[in-house]
Symmetry: D2
Subunit: 339 residues, 4 copies
């Protein structure tokens, strides 16, 4: 940590910072510049509690030097992490591109089995579908709950596709974990820290979606919660952030793909369906995501999007999805990946 | 709901929309313009599920006419809602300005009792303090839990100040409700819908903080969750949003005060401490909030901010707080309020 | 245009809107719903001046139906526009991918000739370089002015690469047009409407960069200024927007590529150098841009980025650039394009 | 400037940074921490050109210590600057609150004289009105040009109110300066650096509006351009930024008021009309601005907003404006100011 003093800071003010740092066990390095004094705090202790130094008289700015996350960082672990959804389906560097496809919500057993078969035939290697649905409106369809989980299990049995489904409540983690192969923590719960701890205690792989108001650093800090509970099977998912641009529902931030790859060893997937909110933008952004280096995609597919109980506007029809997969294979190959 | 067709939409496409609307029980009103046909759907049914009409061929745009929230709206209830924290302390139009003050975290019994006495003497009428703390880092102080709640209760007993404290987990709602006079749902849990439902089932007043990536409409929809469970004792709290401006931790959006007053009957308070992230900006923004029409303020106060276990940089010292209250009284009076 | 009345609007208020619309030559279509009356204004007149209807008593909301731009829209012109930088170098659908490469600033004659030869050898088909530089600080290097333009011309003569360079001042348009093959209007001047009109009066192709605080609609409206002066040789450039995300200098909004393709017939290029601000993110985002459907790229290349007079941190070295071009060829081919 | 090295930086990499700094005339201070080496560059030279150090191998991060602006900073000049619009009308700390009022556009001589008399009677001390109008659409009313300036002059002669009006083009600076008492640089031209230099060369006071995609630092850097040309009569104007919040046209960032007061000696005024885009939010935000410490307000007033040629939806009627001034007097007094 570096403490930059104000140009008018007195010697006494500098000394009182130095004393405080020493009291916390830090080594201190003083650097008197032409205009200002700069104080370096040396040590490997966490300096999180020291942000309140900002309050001390004479201080202009505090510059943290160590990243606030540890277990998720490339500095901590150099090799890419590979996450296993099942014995056959893995995601991460060097693996096949993961394609998680399916409807926004599980609406019925027949529906989910049919769509599972369709997306599998097209080339998907995991099935998504919401049984517990976080909806902006209390009056919107909230999902089928455990019944939905059972339908998902039936679809998985039929197709051998591992299941990715959301858990919204600490009280439901055990229940959802009974049926799901991968637990999804949704964008709106990205900083529901108790939920993060709870899924961290399971042995299940976790799909952690970036909150629409969260920075990449926030996302990594949330992943750190899961890893710090002993579960390192975490996949990060970019799904769009809130910006002033209103021609798309969210602004899909593909910069996040190379940035996360630089800072962390965890796999990254991209959700172009939520990221754009419009089905006809999904193919372009899905291809862009793979070209940017993503390890996988989460794509909404629905037999009859215009009759979907949720998010119809962003869902692909099965044949559009099948066509997209063909195009994605070419892009994946162009960047040295396989799908 | 209005459906705007594309200029090249065929008659058949128009008819298929009309049929679908009729099948859902809507009356239909066709308006053929020079360039486009516009279809009005008439009826008092919720049209939320119809957003997937967007997918139907020929459709250019869907314009919802009814607001997606109901119970929280001024159209539903014209008179301002008054929320009671205790027999004496109420918040809302025509009431005294509510001043919720106290430390970010409860750190000890002595600390919280002392600060409660200080803020009460200065003019606060409610005590805040976190026992369960949502922290970005898993390695940061996470709060004292139930012990913290007990210390808060002791401080309340000593000072008669009602207690406002956060609940983060559906499993803790009953516990926190046992000690708190008002339950706070924090910014990061604003769209934790299960938590909203759970606090909606209590009879406690709720302080609902706006998420940093949430629009005012999102905030009202989250409040709707609470009201739809039968609890209309909800106070909305503006505490800053995420923007590109990096000179403050958040951008406190005071526009939200008159906008919420126009759209909803619920009281609004402003948190300039989180809204700016810097203690020396708090007084200016606190005064601005009252001038804008806020019904109250939530302000962090700490005896020794530079030693606080969390958020020290945004906390006022007790004497700065006492001075601010004096200045706020003048501003409140200037806009016809009392404090 | 559709005018949605408030639920409590009186018949007299509705009538006064209707009268006003008729007075402006619009046909009127009344639709009385269960809760509200909706008024459709029918006609092909521009309705821009009518936004002030918002002020009239009883009005809840105004919904424009026609897009505010015309000449740039797909509805006005279905076929993709092809823009010619020279007899050989063209950009747009079906053309080779345009690669505009070169340093941020022209620093000397030898430097610009050398870099021109290097980028040409690597596969670039146009040369960029700033002679007039918009710098945030008045104390930073402001460019070599006309001398820089002459150096660019020398580099172009040597390599046959057409020149793309910025013009910042209405007074300099004629001068820059004398040397440049394509005039760049920079992001910070995207809404310098007088400059837009002035470059619209030239016959030169224009590279119009999106402002960091501008929506895609704003960008199209600015292009409309140029086309409305009779110059339809306009290429749009996505180069990142301002968001709360601080791990990159800007958030490159690749959604803009398919959105612009849907709404407009103009070619789109992407600038991943400014869009990310960091050279090591450029390759990933360049590939993503091509996969998303961009017609070209603008990339900063500098012999010694660490000694550049501006924007060194986002410039590629020539060999990194050459390697990137090889990878881009594969991605271009995967999406049916050539480079 | 502080250079933070990567944990894996070699001694050679550190040395090459040190050599480069010395070659640029900086003193160097090395600090070897447990994990990383930190290099301090000591000297009073501008370090702007050194941002390209970022490119050098082994460098993790560059932290500038000196602010990039100088003349506008409080550190350079402690006392508040007072700007004079006329012999009687001044703006800045300790002065009366400046109220700049008038229509968005000058529409006719009778109109502008009438409104000037109305706003003066209500309590305004300066007249605004656009003769050159920056409009998003090329088809919207572009202003009356010099004729408009003449009408403004006539209104000023009649009422003695100084005139504030926008200049959009470097070529028009002399013309507008002939008629105006204060030149406005609009939000969209905030980073039109040539225009900034040109108005900097006049002796006129300048009203510099913050761009909707610009940080407070960007605004101060743009002001620095004007001061660096020898003109220190600059007033900064907050008028709202672009954010994801869509219930208001812009998000008026009142935090900017205390932040600018802390960093700079220049006066600050707030424009709640553009800042919100809706007339019925203007009174609340005008009061909030004064309470936050603004030195003045710019408010749009129009006799018949519903017939205005531009921005009608955000204009107050004269009687609403007169009522607002009465309320503002009370708020100003509450914060120790006069109006």
């Amino acid at each position: 940590m570096i403490i930059i003093m104000r140009p008018d800071a007195t010697e006494r003010q500098v000394n009182s910072i130095v004393d405080k740092l020493k009291a916390h066990g830090f080594g201190v390095h003083l650097s008197k510049g032409v205009e200002r004094t700069v104080i370096g705090a040396i040590g490997d202790k966490s300096s999180i509690e020291l942000e309140s130094l900002q309050m001390m008289p004479g201080v202009s700015e505090i510059v943290p030097i160590r990243k606030p996350y540890k277990l998720v960082s490339r500095e901590f672990k150099k090799e890419d992490t590979i996450v296993s959804l099942s014995a056959e389906v893995k995601v991460g560097a060097g693996q096949k591109i993961l394609i998680i496809a399916g409807p926004c919500s599980v609406e019925g057993e027949k529906q989910i089995i049919e769509i599972a078969e369709l997306v599998k035939a097209a080339g998907a290697n995991a099935l998504r579908g919401g049984a517990f649905k976080p909806r902006t409106s209390p009056y919107a369809f909230q999902g089928l709950g455990e019944t939905g989980l059972k339908y998902l299990a039936a679809a998985s049995k039929k197709t051998d596709l591992p299941i990715v489904t959301e858990v919204m409540d600490t009280r439901d983690v055990a229940l959802v974990a009974k049926y799901a192969d991968m637990l999804q923590v949704g964008a709106r719960n990205m900083q529901n820290f108790n939920l993060l701890k709870e899924v961290g205690k399971t042995k299940k792989p976790i799909l952690l979606k970036r909150g629409p108001g969260s920075t990449i650093k926030d996302l990594l800090m949330s992943a750190e919660y899961i890893l710090s509970e002993g579960n390192n099977q975490v996949v990060l998912c970019e799904r769009g952030i809130k910006t002033f641009e209103d021609s798309t529902r969210n602004t899909l931030d593909l910069n996040a793909v190379p940035v996360i790859k630089k800072w962390s060893h965890l796999p990254v997937v991209v959700d172009p369906s939520h990221g754009t909110g419009e089905w006809d933008l999904v193919p372009a952004m899905a291809k862009a995501a793979i070209a940017a280096g993503a390890d996988g995609l989460a794509i909404e597919v629905h037999q009859k999007p215009e009759a979907a109980l949720s998010d119809g506007a962003q869902s692909l029809k099965p044949d559009t999805f099948a066509q997209l997969i063909k195009e994605l294979r070419l892009v994946a190959k162009a960047v040295g990946r396989e799908l």
